[in-house]
Symmetry: C2
Subunit: 240 residues, 2 copies
């Protein structure tokens, strides 16, 4: 059941995303398509760790994850959100102890991905660009949490999520699925859920953001972007 349960349309978002990062050969495309067959499902709140018997490099086919730092007194910071189509680098437990863990924020399905044949292949370039983008989004997260106020943080995050989901073909026209509770948002933004709630209400009243159920809709993405100095992460050439 956990095997191929989520193998439907839309489950090829990883192919959509990677093929937009670099041009892939036909065998590479096929390998990625086949990778979806290795999918396994992991329940919400479970850890995506070494336990899953994962390959070193995995891809999120559906659901959202997060890299998390948990403090002993209960405080929690979500360091990065992991979206469908994102690559997840599994680290060996003896490689790097950085005090973080990766957890499934919703139910999630992940698959192993093929290793590139050589460093110059399209797949290798796509992976490299993906890693570079991941780093760029870490920088954004630091600036967001360090220098923006609650209102700006929320907008900046929504714009980022919209951009990233769009790359995987999962968002358009400002509308996308946002399966996060307000508490998860708070943990990602360095705020409390109470304050996130009040800020969201303000944004709704102003009509800049809709949030019905688990669907978000940004009303005027371009105008919002200029309000928080949003600069999209753009990749035009491989970093190597």
């Amino acid at each position: 059941m956990a095997r191929t349960a989520n193998l439907e349309v839309g489950e090829l978002c990883h192919l959509t995303r990677l093929s937009r990062l670099a041009s892939l050969s036909e065998p590479e495309t096929e390998a990625l398509r086949a990778a979806a067959a290795t999918a396994r499902t992991i329940g919400a709140r479970k850890e995506l760790g070494r336990d899953g018997g994962l390959a070193r490099q995995a891809v999120l086919l559906s659901g959202w994850g997060g890299r998390v730092r948990q403090f002993p007194d209960g405080r929690r910071q979500i360091l990065q959100f992991l979206l469908p189509g994102d690559l997840i680098e599994q680290r060996d437990q003896d490689s790097l102890l950085d005090g973080t863990s990766i957890i499934a924020l919703t139910e999630v399905s992940i698959a192993s991905v093929p290793s590139p044949e050589d460093g110059a292949s399209g797949l290798a370039r796509a992976y490299a660009i993906s890693a570079a983008m991941e780093q760029a989004y870490l920088f954004r997260q630091i600036a967001r949490v360090g220098r923006l106020d609650a209102y700006e943080r929320l907008i900046d995050l929504m714009l980022e999520l919209h951009d990233r989901l769009r790359l995987a073909g999962l968002a358009d026209g400002g509308r996308f699925s946002l399966p996060l509770t307000q508490e998860m948002l708070a943990d990602g933004l360095g705020l409390t859920s109470v304050h996130v709630n009040r800020t969201l209400q303000l944004m709704r009243r102003e009509g800049v953001l809709e949030l019905r159920g688990s669907t978000a809709c940004l009303v005027e993405p371009e105008r919002l972007g200029s309000a928080v100095d949003y600069q999209p992460v753009v990749v035009s050439a491989p970093p190597r």
Copy 2:
């Protein structure tokens, strides 16, 4: 003058650091030693950009740098501090536009570093571990700015700087050179310089931190660490 001006004892901190990350062959060690001859000096507040004609991979031989996000209204966030011995990945201007820049926080000297012969060499492993540590420190920075209060942020940062400098042979027994103004600290911690000032005074009164001129001294590093749940970044095996 800019050429070999800073070539003294202590200018081999990059060799100290890299050789502690992976065992290097004699030719590799020699290449790193020779790399110091390519050092060039860059004045404080200048940008370490594409203009310097730098190689893709460079190393900081002396002085401190920072990767910075500058907002149009004057706000500024230092995303990461770059310390002597740290590697700096220069990105081609058409590779990744992430809205950040790298600047010299003090006068700085940087050198190009040799490319590893093959992916399995000691040098390649050292570079890979260095990159993994850099990412781990980005995670720390997010958690610090997102979930710690001013007092904790300052302590956590001091512990990190101490650890990192010690790896390069530039700190010991809690004492190290800290050539940052309180405003730079504030920009790195997501605070104002006024608040950093007051927090530092509190810490001095409590006797947990000395800050005379540009020298910092942590009184009881171990005890401080437990107060903020400090977990050192440890690397025991290469990530690849």
